[in-house]
C-alpha cells in the first residue's frame, strides 16, 4: 500500500530536458521509479537517459498511460505546466518549481479541484514511498521501508528527520514534502486522512512550521479523525515576528501562526511535540508501545 505513489506509479517529468529535470529524472529512474516519459515542447522524439520525450503532456499521457507528473519548469511557467498535466488527465501532480507567484497558484486551484487532480507543492521536495517510487528531489538513500508516514512543510529538515528515523530503525511508508508556499496543493489534513486509511502506516510524523494555521487545523482533524499515533515538530520557534524565513514562506503576523500556538494546539489533542529533531524517534517508539 503506502499513499499517493508506489511501484505502479507511471511518472512523467515535465521540463525533462532542463538541468534539474534531467538530473532528477535520472536519479528517480535509478531509484527504481517507473519514469515512463518526459515533456519538453519542441524536443518531442528525443530521449533523456533512455526516457522518451514528448512535446505535450497530452501526447505523453496518450503514449505512456502516465498517471503522475513531476514538474521542473521555471517558476513563471509552473502554473501552466500544472494545468497542462491536469488537462491531460494526470491524477497526481508534484510541482518542484520554486518561486511560483501566489496568484498563479490561486488561479490553478479551482481547475484542479474541478478535474479531481491532486497537487503537491509548488516549492516542495516531492515524495517517496521507500523501495517503490521516488517522485521528487529527495535523497533516496536515506529512506528505509517501514511503517511511519511523514509529512512536512520543509525540505532539508525532512531529511534530517528521516535520517533520525532511519538510523533508529524506524522505516517509512511514505514521506511527503508538501512545501511551504502560502497557497499549495495537498495539505496536512488530506494527508492525515490518507495515512489513517493506509494499512501500511502505523504512525505519523508531522513537521510543521510557523505561519498560517495548517497545524492548528491538522490538530483539530487529528482529534476527530486520526486513531494512529502522531508526533509533531514545529520549526521556527525562535523566529522573530514579522520576518519571513526564506523560501519556506513562513510569516508570523498579528499573533497567529506562532510556534507556541501550534505546539499548544497539538499537545491539547494528545500529539506530543518534539523540541529537538533528535527526540522524534523516542517519542514515536513511546507512542507505538502504548
Amino acid at each position: 500500500m503506502s499513499i499517493l505513489v508506489n511501484k505502479n506509479t507511471k511518472l512523467i517529468v515535465q521540463g525533462i530536458t532542463g538541468r534539474d529535470g534531467s538530473f532528477h529524472a535520472s536519479k528517480m529512474k535509478a531509484y527504481g521509479t517507473n519514469v515512463v516519459g518526459g515533456v519538453s515542447p519542441g524536443k518531442g522524439g528525443q530521449e533523456v537517459d533512455g526516457i522518451p520525450v514528448f512535446n505535450t503532456v497530452s501526447d505523453a499521457v496518450k503514449a505512456t498511460g502516465a498517471d503522475t507528473s513531476i514538474i521542473f519548469v521555471p517558476a513563471p511557467l509552473a502554473a501552466d505546466a500544472i494545468l497542462e498535466a491536469s488537462e491531460a488527465g494526470v491524477s497526481l501532480v508534484i510541482s518542484i518549481s520554486e518561486g511560483v507567484p501566489t496568484l498563479d497558484m490561486i488561479k490553478v486551484t479551482p481547475y484542479l479541484k474541478k478535474n479531481g487532480t491532486k497537487l503537491i507543492g509548488s516549492n516542495c521536495p516531492g515524495l517517496i514511498t521507500p523501495g517503490e517510487a521516488l517522485v521528487g528531489i529527495l535523497p533516496g538513500n536515506i529512506f528505509l521501508k517501514g511503517g511511519v508516514g511523514l509529512m512536512s512543510r520543509s525540505g532539508t529538515l525532512t531529511y534530517e528527520m528521516v535520517h533520525q528515523l532511519t538510523t533508529n530503525g524506524l522505516g517509512q511508508s511514505t514521506c511527503v514534502g508538501i512545501g511551504g508556499d502560502p497557497v499549495a496543493g495537498l495539505y496536512f489534513q488530506e494527508l492525515l486522512q490518507m495515512f489513517q486509511d493506509d494499512p501500511e502506516t502505523e504512525a505519523i510524523v508531522l513537521i510543521g512550521e510557523i505561519g498560517g494555521d495548517a497545524e492548528e487545523q491538522a490538530a483539530q482533524y487529528i482529534k476527530e479523525n486520526v486513531t494512529k499515533p502522531v508526533v509533531a515538530f514545529i520549526a521556527g520557534q525562535s523566529a522573530p515576528e514579522g520576518k519571513r524565513m526564506g523560501h519556506a514562506g513562513a510569516i508570523i503576523s498579528s499573533g497567529t501562526g506562532t510556534a507556541e500556538e501550534k505546539i499548544a494546539a497539538f499537545e491539547a489533542v494528545g500529539v506530543p511535540v518534539a523540541r529537538r529533531p533528535e527526540e522524534i524517534p523516542a517519542l514515536l517508539i513511546k507512542m507505538l508501545k502504548k
Binding site: 536519479k27 517558476a75 513563471p76 518561486g99 511560483v100 507567484p101 501566489t102 496568484l103 498563479d104 497558484m105 490561486i106 488561479k107 486551484t109 479551482p110 528531489i137 529527495l138 535523497p139 536515506i142 512536512s152 512543510r153 520543509s154 525540505g155 532539508t156 529538515l157 525532512t158 531529511y159 534530517e160 535520517h163 511551504g180 502560502p182 497557497v183 513537521i207 512550521e209 510557523i210 498560517g212 494555521d213 495548517a214 487545523q217 515538530f233 520549526a235 521556527g236 520557534q237 525562535s238 523566529a239 522573530p240 520576518k243 519571513r244 524565513m245 526564506g246 523560501h247 519556506a248 513562513a250 503576523s253 498579528s254 499573533g255 510556534a259 523540541r275 529537538r276 529533531p277 533528535e278
Partner: protein, 381 residues
C-alpha cells in the same frame, strides 16, 4: 516587499480611487510650500516602511503654517523602529464623520484572495483582530469570478447603509481588487477609508505589499521599490542564491534549507543562545556560495561564532566537505567555527573536515551547545 503610503496612493489614483490631495516633501521648506498650496489644516506623515508610525509620533495634524513646519522639523530625521524618516507626506486635513477599514490579502485556507472589511477603521487592524475578531468581516473572492459587482455591493452594504455610499464603495472595491491582481500584491489596504462631510468616500491612508515571487512580471512595481538597509542585504544575498535575514544575536548560522535553518536557530535558542541571522545556502556544494555566505555572516560585527549545519542529501557530504575546505582556505575567518555535517556520505565528509583541522560535531544539539559555549567564552574574555 512594501512600498510607501504615498506610492500606494499614487497607484490608487491611477485607478480613480479618491485619495487626499497631498505632496511628498523632503525638507521643512518643501513642507511649508506644500502647506500653503494645499491649504490648512494639513497632516504631516512620516513615510517609512514600518508600521506603528502614528504611535511613534510620526503623524501630526497642523492647523497653522507654524504647526506644519514644527511638525516637519520633528518628524524628518526621526527614527521609527530603526528606520530614519527621510521624507514626509503633507496631506490636506479632511473633515469626516466615519472611518472604516478595507483590505485585500491572500487567504491560505480558502486558497484565494480575501476581502476584509471592518466598521472599526482607523486603528491597527491587528488589534481589532485580537480583541474583537467578529468585527472583521471576511469575503473570499472566487478566483474564477473575481470581484463581481454583486460581491462588491454585498461588502459595501455590510459597511454602509446610505445607497450613494454603497455605490461608491462597490465601485472602489472592484478597483482595489483589480489593483491587487494587476500588481501581484499580497496586501492592499485602506485604513481609514472615511466618509467626508460632503458624503464622499476618501482614502486617508494606503498600504501595499507585493509578492516577491511575481516581481519578474511587475517591473513598474520593482522600479518604485525602496529596499531598506536590511532588505538591500537580503536582495544582494538573493542575487547570490542565498536567503538571508539579519537578526539580533551573536551566533552566525549557515544552513542548507529553510526548514533546517529555522530548526537550527530554534536549537540555538533552546540552549540559551541567540542566532545572528537566518541563512539558507540552498542545495549546492559550490565553494563560491560558501564564501559568499561566510562574507555575509562576517559583515555583521555582532557575530562571535559561526555555526554551519549541513544535511547532505542529493549533494553528498564528502562533496560538501570539499567545498567547505576550499572555501575556508580562501577566506580568512578570525572567529570560531562549528561545523555539523550529516546525511549521505557523512563519514567521508567528516573525515575530510577533520583532516583540514576544522572543528566538527555530529548532531545539531552538539553543534548548538558548542557554539553557545564558544560564544560565552568569547564574551567573557
Amino acid at each position: 516587499m512594501k512600498i510607501h503610503e504615498y506610492q500606494a496612493k499614487e497607484i490608487f489614483s491611477r485607478y480613480s480611487i479618491p485619495v487626499t490631495r497631498e505632496e511628498l516633501c523632503f525638507t521643512v521648506e518643501e513642507v511649508s510650500s506644500a502647506t500653503q498650496k494645499l491649504g490648512l489644516p494639513v497632516v504631516v506623515k512620516a513615510q517609512v516602511l514600518a508600521g506603528g508610525r502614528g504611535k511613534a509620533g510620526g503623524v501630526k495634524l497642523a492647523k497653522s503654517l507654524d504647526e506644519a513646519t514644527t511638525a516637519a522639523t520633528a518628524i524628518l530625521g526621526m527614527d521609527i523602529k530603526g528606520y530614519t524618516v527621510e521624507k514626509v507626506l503633507v496631506a490636506e486635513g479632511v473633515r469626516f464623520n466615519n472611518e472604516v477599514y478595507v483590505g485585500l490579502t491572500i487567504d491560505r485556507k480558502s486558497k484565494s484572495v480575501i476581502f476584509m472589511a471592518s466598521r472599526e477603521g482607523g486603528v491597527e487592524i491587528e488589534e481589532v483582530a485580537k480583541e474583537n475578531p467578529d468585527a472583521i468581516l471576511k469575503f473570499p473572492i472566487d478566483p474564477d469570478l473575481g470581484m463581481t459587482p454583486f460581491l462588491a455591493r454585498k461588502i459595501a452594504f455590510s459597511l454602509f447603509t446610505e445607497f450613494s455610499l454603497v455605490k461608491q464603495a462597490a465601485d472602489m472595491f472592484q478597483k482595489l481588487y483589480r489593483i491587487f491582481m494587476d500588481t501581484d500584491a499580497s496586501l492592499v489596504e485602506i485604513n481609514p477609508l472615511v466618509i467626508t462631510d460632503e458624503g464622499n468616500l476618501l482614502a486617508l491612508d494606503g498600504k501595499m505589499n507585493f509578492d516577491d515571487n511575481a516581481l519578474f512580471r511587475q517591473s513598474a512595481i520593482e522600479a518604485i521599490m525602496e529596499p531598506d538597509e536590511d532588505e538591500k542585504v537580503e536582495l544582494d544575498a538573493k542575487s547570490k542564491g542565498l536567503t538571508f535575514i539579519r537578526l539580533d544575536g551573536s551566533i552566525g548560522c549557515m544552513v542548507n534549507g529553510a526548514g533546517l535553518a529555522m530548526a537550527t536557530m530554534d536549537m540555538i535558542k533552546l540552549y540559551g543562545g541567540e542566532p545572528a541571522n537566518f541563512l539558507d545556502i540552498g542545495g549546492s556544494s559550490s565553494p563560491k556560495k560558501v564564501i559568499d555566505a561566510m562574507n555575509l555572516i562576517l559583515s555583521d560585527p555582532k557575530v562571535k561564532v559561526v555555526m554551519i549545519n549541513i544535511f547532505g542529501g542529493i549533494t553528498r557530504c564528502d562533496d560538501v566537505a570539499r567545498g567547505l575546505v576550499a572555501a575556508l582556505e580562501q577566506i580568512k575567518v578570525e572567529i570560531p567555527i562549528v561545523i555539523r555535517l550529516a546525511g549521505t556520505n557523512s563519514k567521508e565528509g567528516l573525515e575530510i573536515l577533520k583532516q583540514a583541522q576544522l572543528p566538527v560535531v555530529e548532531t545539531m544539539t552538539q553543534a548548538a551547545q558548542k557554539a553557545i559555549t564558544l560564544c560565552e567564552t568569547i564574551s567573557h574574555l
